[in-house]
Amino acid sequence: MTVSDAGQPVLAAPESRRPIGLLLVAVPVLLVIWLIIWPIISAIIQTLWMRLPEGGDTFSLETYRFFFSDGYSLSNLSLTLWTTGVCAILLLVVCLPIALYLRFSDSRIAAYVQGLAIFPMFVPSIILSFAFIRVLGPNGTVDLLLNAMSLPKIRSPYLTPWGPVIGLVWDNIPLTVLILLSGLGNVSNQAIEAARDVGAGRFALLWHIILPRISNSVLVAISFAVLGIFSAFTLPYVLGPAAPEMMGPFMQRTFRELYEPRTAITQAVITFGFCIVFGLFYVRSVAKNRTP
């Protein structure tokens, strides 16, 4: 993933090579238009034009009005926003120290830490969910260990909003660490040493030297995590409370079990509306990097 390459112009293409370049990107662009842009447009149209019983279509904001006046739907949306926000903060808190350690440590342990940090990428979320119930669930491994030390049981996060938060953070650690790590590659050792020479402390180093250089990566990492978490399905479905639901399970249930495709598509469009904000962050930061 070249999400935060150093800002070098890709190919200083002379005028004559331009058509070939355009041709090369035509396939992915057309695919994106066909498989992503067009479904989005058609979904929006489907939710806005209502078929009248006597035939013909009419413009209507009915499903949106329902969503934003329905307390249940709104509480699902706010839970989703809460989960996403908490996960994003926790991911930064957890991953930034790991990434910093991996960037600046030369020890052999670092390789193992990196392996461990990437490990969640290879665990399917359904397996993670059931392992979570076994470990953090009621009378799970943690409870057994605590009990063996004659300590009281934990208040299990299973079936509470914290269940999906813990699962999603664990699941998103690898991607976040990798993106932050690639951003930290832009921080040169000379810059660090120069700052140290003039007497900068650890915190000053982080705040004035490192963070400004990786702010882009942080933004990209957060955008990626948020995009994935906002529409997460398996972990909130298995580990979360019955209500409020996150948007992923809510949409699926509306579509598959209430047989209300229009309502489900409306929920999807609203979800998309929130995600596109973070998508734009990502696009903007990539574009900023590309212009020399």
């Binding site: 249940y72 669930g137 079936l159 479905y237 019955a242 699926q252």
Partner: protein
């Protein structure tokens, strides 16, 4: 190899990979898709498949776990598309499927009409189980209560709804049921509460008597019953997201009692997922509802005839008895077609009638109503 040759070769290879893969169902291999849980697939793997393949040389079964209802429904949608284009749907038989789910599926003739398919055992099917001619009931299951006998003496087990409510309230945090749309054990517990709120009369609900007003007047009292129970449930009103998760909580001794499918609880005990000290009990005033699991055969499947033979085979006494003895379910055929010894043996365990709650609009109203009224665990009026 010159660089140019290499590029050409690589390009051809990549191009070949990108071509749509043309896959056809193998002749003589019946593709069966399951929406049921693992214990049912195990039953097919260990009992149905060897017996059927032994009786029909050259035919093999390919058992595919479709995940859940929507998973198999997606295969149904694919078959529908294949029907329109005359392609091979690569599927022959759906287990645990309601043919109504595929939009236009019945109208366009996607599913075999069993009334005219000429199955020799079709007349044996239990009349209680009949639904529509494209759904073939082949096994039944009922929800009962599974409990931990080390924590609850079998002598004191609640046997009526009222006793159950008293027990749940007297033992807060020891009971959990799963969300009604995620696996039928919780769903049928909710339906039992709905019967309770409507004079314990299963006949009050039929496939076509749902109206918005009826839903309002008949379901609201049930939501009140369940709301009243919520604070005494596990974690002050938590609901698991599936049958298996409920079994897991009982197995981890986190709760004392759960509603569970009879077949799933029996196989869980047999496999050690639940301890041997697990007790099973059915309410005696009115049992927890259950239902019959249906099959569908695709009319455009490449192995339609073999699949119909398989459907007929499933209704034979051999398999129907195995449903009782191996799976812990109920036969899909009338009890007259079960061997007298088995009928005798299971007479006490199995009630004369299984309340069967209708699907369709009621199901939708229950799923939506429960999520809005009961699951948030707060008084909507407050």
């Amino acid at each position: 190899m010159k660089r140019r040759d290499f590029m050409l070769a690589a390009g051809t290879a990549a191009g070949a990979l990108m071509l749509p893969r043309m896959a056809f169902a193998a002749p003589g291999v019946i593709d069966v898709y399951f929406s049921s849980d693992q214990n049912v697939i195990d039953f097919w793997t260990n009992v149905v498949k060897p017996k059927f393949e032994a009786a029909n040389a050259g035919v093999t079964l390919n058992l595919v776990d479709g995940g859940d209802g929507p998973g198999v429904a997606a295969i149904g949608d694919r078959a529908m598309a294949a029907l329109a284009s005359g392609a091979d749907p690569q599927a022959d038989l759906f287990e645990g499927f309601d043919t109504r789910v595929t939009v236009d599926g019945i109208a366009k003739g996607l599913y075999v009409d069993f009334e005219t398919a000429g199955l020799s055992n079709y007349s044996k099917v239990n009349p209680l189980a009949f639904d529509i001619p494209t759904n073939l009931p082949y096994r039944g299951s009922q929800v009962l209560l599974a409990y931990d006998t080390t924590k609850l003496d079998p002598a004191n087990v609640p046997k009526t709804w009222a006793d159950l409510v008293t027990w749940i309230k007297a033992n807060p945090g020891q009971f959990i049921y799963n969300r009604p749309n995620k696996g039928g054990s919780g769903g049928n517990f909710v339906r039992r509460a709905i019967y309770e709120a409507n004079g314990q009369d299963p006949a009050a609900f039929t496939v076509d008597n749902y109206t918005a007003e009826a839903g309002e007047t008949m379901l609201t009292p049930a939501w009140d019953i369940l709301m009243d129970l919520a604070p005494s449930l596990f974690d002050g009103g938590a609901y698991t997201s599936g049958n298996t998760q409920s079994l897991q909580l009982l197995g981890q001794s986190a709760v004392t009692m759960i509603p569970a499918w009879s077949d799933q609880a029996l196989s869980a005990i047999a496999q050690g997922v639940l301890p041997e000290t697990t007790g099973l009990v059915q309410l005696q005033d009115l049992g927890l509802p259950g239902g019959f699991t249906k099959l569908a055969v695709l009319s455009n499947g490449a192995n339609k005839d073999a699949a119909l033979k398989l459907a007929d085979f499933l209704l034979t006494e051999e398999i129907q008895s195995a449903v009782l003895t191996e799976l812990g379910g109920f036969p899909g055929v009338s009890w007259d077609y079960i061997s007298p010894e088995l009928r005798e043996k299971f007479a006490d365990l199995i009630p004369q009638s299984i309340p069967n709650f209708p699907s369709g609009d009621w199901e939708k109203a229950i799923n939506d109503g429960w999520y809005r009224a009961v699951a948030p665990n707060v008084d909507p009026a407050s």
